[in-house]
Amino acid sequence: MSAAPGPKANGSAYTARFRVWRGDADGGELRDFDVEVHEGEVVLDIIHRLQATQANDLAVRWNCKAGKCGSCSAEINGRPRLMCMTRMSVFAPDETVTVTPMRAFPVVRDLVTDVSFNYTKAREIPSFVPPPGLRAGEYRMRQEDVGRSQEFRKCIECFLCQNTCHVVRDHEENKQAFAGPRFLMRIAELDMHPLDSAEESGLDRKSAAQEEHGLGYCNITKCCTEVCPENIKITDNALIPLKERAVDRKYDPLVWLGNKIRRR
């Protein structure tokens, strides 16, 4: 038994040129590494090999390595992706593979970023309001009624959509006002939940999405959908329907008039 690092060569192996960002909040640089690549490997394998052989203290956040936890988000050749789901076979052997941390969030060290923005936003979204009068075990919902929200609950919170959305990526100052695709989708999820009773309790999620969580900042350019590793149709199925629901509330003259009259 040997302690040779890495899996045994299975088929062809080659040496790839990696360019990895190393540094922290005070600065850093892209550094070049030549590293072995074996058949069937993903970018995260290569980062791990760098860790084990050339850069013991290379910081990288990861967890399940199966695309289920959403920890290893980074930017590979400028595109926001999960490192564990990016196969090396998509690159030509002579291509330089550049790996940087996500660029919309403050960097902690190397490939690790401070994603607390997302946890702050998560707290600002009002939670599920259980229907009064229904006890646990009495919930009845049809599959067709839960399907929409279930799609959004596939979200693994990798925050790639939050990272790629130009509203905050390119405009730090918008972070205050804008919840980001992941959390606007959370509002849509709750608003489409067949038993959510926010409305009965006086909370209008549709208007709140626009007035408090920055739905209007979204200009539906669909980058969130493009980078979603779970293939959730964030824009088409969550954000646009949410915009339409806000229109129901705020720009539909009949609804507006009705509300005015009812309030009197």
């Binding site: 038994m1 302690a3 690092p5 899996p7 045994k8 299975n10 922290d24 058949e39 069937g40 490997e41 993903v42 394998d45 860790q51 084990a52 013991n56 203290d57 290379l58 910081a59 956040r61 967890n63 399940c64 390595k65 199966a66 695309g67 289920k68 936890c69 959403g70 920890s71 789901m85 196969r87 902690v108 060290r109 190397d110 690790v112 401070d114 994603v115 946890y119 998560a122 707290r123 009002p126 939670s127 599920f128 259980p130 229904l134 646990a136 075990g137 919930y139 009845r140 919902m141 049809r142 599959q143 839960v146 929200s149 279930q150 609950r153 596939k154 693994i156 919170e157 709750l190 939940h193």
Partner: protein, 644 residues
């Protein structure tokens, strides 16, 4: 005294998976100030990897299901080594725990009449697993996470501070449970991001750290699974039981090499998938053990009829408990009837329409497509056993989840032992997390609430200094003579994984395990010279060097207990003792720290750090025994046990 960040809480939960979050919710709902410590980010815990479902006898799919049937299945799956009281509580309370999730916003797949849909799984007599496609663990973790956020929002409403009564410490690792005399006084740990130390003073600590899979090479577990809670308990003086029982999930991916071990959910088989060898034969029919002969189909025709009409057909043998299927696959591979990459074929493509596969098994479809270039709707998967779960863990009181002998220490989930006996049924893990997570949180809160302010245990400065020195050690190791050169923690870890995989793996022999113990002793010595470069900020090499202590401790427990148990049962298979032995049925093997005082260095290297003792289990309550037929009990219990 060492510079540390200090906090004071009533209850500290170490671990933020299903059990940890459920415990934290309960403690906070009891009105106590609660802290949760996650090793990774909030919501990323290993629970998200659970795919199939949550076992709970709600009876939505088959009204004949009830807690007694679930209890029976659990005991059978664990080959009667389960702590019967835990199995009983688990079966009784699981439905309430699942329904409760719905009131927090969970959206399970539905039956036609709008109830929670339930699916078939290995070892469960009826379709019993509440599920969401094949991402049930994610739903569970997200629901609990969102429940915590909801509680924080309540606190914010009340006091203006989200973290007033419930705070999540993200990316922190606990390295020691601190004690004041016999009692728990808090925890010591470090923040991964900054490397800074922290101490949380708290009279009650709930361990919910999950498993030990990262000690094995081929595993479905993530890096977090380094046996931290097992080691913390040992070091705090609490015993572990059943450590010889490690579950190898029968179906992990085998190719490509970089994903070897990643889980392929049992739902593939529950929904109709079959196992074939390289001859195309459905080999599981050859591997039905005697104890299960009456329950499983003998022909393909009978097995296939079961999916549509379970009342008049027996179950297909692909749905035997996991230990049986894993052993069968292992035997086929050893006999040379294996797939090109050393596994067997798991085929669902010829069993269900493509559309149906994509609907029922979306993440499996995605996983194989993305990682292996295999379209599971058109071709079979290649699978083989992978280290998945440890049945052993902290010995706890079944009702309160309190660890033996250490007041204030509680354990729930995979880190606790006893519930699953020698083998866990699929789906029983998620329900275990919820049932015992809640109980641990509840009793930890009660314990903490009963203490008066003057009565609270105190953290000693000396213990903090010792803990800090232990953690900092890898930075000060210096290479000198050739026999004391520094060691690379990554290399040590790889050697450990290889050792456990090869010598204490799915099939075990006395000679190999003796060799494993020798190697572990050697690794233990070398690990004291594990050195790291760089500084304390997010330094993975350092983190691994610290985790090695835990992996070496639990690996020794596994190897010692496995060597001692001279029979084959559930997740423990001995080549040299291939039969199940009724005399072993009521015996737990108990691991304790040999030094007894939490000190590791002083122990003689040859002796190891673990002391192993045998302990008899309490006899099963009569009304629960009566749920089984006498013939069946005869296979498990000794004659004198049956007479009394």
């Amino acid at each position: 005294m060492t510079q540390v960040e200090r906090h004071t809480y009533d209850v500290v939960v170490v671990g933020a998976g299903g059990a940890g979050l459920r415990a934290a919710i309960e403690a906070r709902e009891q009105g106590l100030r609660t802290a949760v410590i996650c090793k990774s980010l909030f919501g990323k815990a290993h629970t998200v990897m659970a795919e199939g479902g949550i076992a709970a006898s709600m009876g939505n799919a088959n009204p004949r299901d009830n807690w007694q049937v679930h209890f029976r299945d659990t005991m059978r799956g664990g080959k009667f080594l389960n702590n019967w009281r835990m199995a009983e509580l688990h079966a009784r309370e699981a439905p309430d725990r699942v329904w409760e999730l719905e009131t927090w916003g969970a959206l399970f797949d539905r039956t036609k009449d709008g109830r929670i849909s339930q699916r078939n799984f290995g070892g469960h007599e009826y379709a019993r697993l509440a599920h969401v496609g094949d991402r049930t663990g994610l739903e569970l973790i997200r629901t609990l996470q969102q429940r915590i956020v909801a509680l924080q929002q309540e606190d914010h409403e009340r006091s203006g501070d989200y973290e007033d009564r419930l705070r999540v410490f993200q990316e922190c690792t606990v390295t020691r449970v601190l004690k004041d005399g016999a009692r728990v006084s808090g925890v010591f740990g470090y923040v991964r991001e900054s490397g800074r130390f922290f101490v949380i003073e708290a009279p009650a600590v709930v361990l919910a750290t999950g498993g030990i899979g990262k000690s094995f090479k081929v595993t479905s577990n993530s890096w977090e699974y380094t046996g931290d809670g097992h080691a913390l308990a040992l070091l705090a003086g609490a015993p572990l039981i059943n450590m010889e029982f490690v579950q190898f999930h029968p179906t992990g991916m085998v190719w490509p090499p970089s994903v070897k071990g990643i889980l392929v959910t049992e739902s593939v088989r529950g929904d109709g998938g079959v196992l074939r060898n390289s001859d195309g034969k459905r080999f599981m029919f050859d591997y039905i053990p005697d104890v299960f002969k009456e329950k499983y189909a003998q022909s393909e025709q009978e097995a296939d009829g079961w999916y549509a009409d379970p009342d008049n057909h027996r179950r297909p043998p692909e749905l035997l408990p996991r230990d049986e299927v894993a052993r069968a696959i292992n035997s086929e591979v050893k006999a040379g009837r294996c797939s090109p990459h050393g596994g067997v074929f798991l085929d669902v493509s010829t069993r269900l329409p493509a559309e149906e596969i994509r609907r029922r098994l979306p993440s499996m479809h995605h996983q194989f497509k993305e990682l292996a270039d295999v379209d599971i709707t058109a071709e079979p998967m290649e699978v083989g056993p992978t280290c998945h779960y440890v049945m052993g863990g902290v010995e706890v009181d079944p009702d309160s989840a309190a660890a033996t002998g250490v007041p204030g220490l509680f354990a729930a989930g995979e880190v606790a032992g006893g519930m699953h006996g020698s083998n866990r049924l699929g789906g029983n893990s998620l329900s275990d997390l919820l049932v015992f997570g809640r109980r641990a949180g509840l009793h930890a809160a009660e314990y903490a609430a009963e203490l008066g302010t003057d009565d609270r245990p105190r953290v000693s400065a000396e213990q903090v200094d010792t803990a800090a020195a232990e953690v900092l050690r890898p930075f000060s190791v210096e290479g000198g003579e050739p026999e004391s050169r520094t060691e690379n923690p990554y290399a040590l870890h790889q050697e450990l994984q290889q050792t456990m995989n090869d010598l204490v793996g799915i099939i075990r022999r006395a000679s190999e395990m003796t060799e494993a113990l020798r190697r572990l002793a050697d690794l233990r010595q070398r690990s004291r010279r594990a050195a790291v470069e760089g500084h304390r900020q997010f330094n993975p090499g350092w983190h691994l060097a610290i985790d090695l202590r835990n992996m070496l401790l639990v690996s020794e427990c596994v190897a010692r207990a496995a060597l001692e148990r001279t029979e084959s049962r559930g997740g423990h298979t001995r080549d040299d003792y291939p039969e199940m032995d009724r005399r072993w049925r009521k015996t737990n093997l108990v691991c304790e720290l040999a030094s007894g005082d939490g000190e590791l260095a002083a122990v003689d290297p040859a002796d190891g750090q673990i002391r192993l003792t045998r302990r008899d289990m309490p006899p099963i309550r009569g009304d629960l025994l009566a749920l089984f037929g006498k013939d069946e009990l005869l296979k498990y219990l000794t004659d004198e046990e049956l007479d009394t």
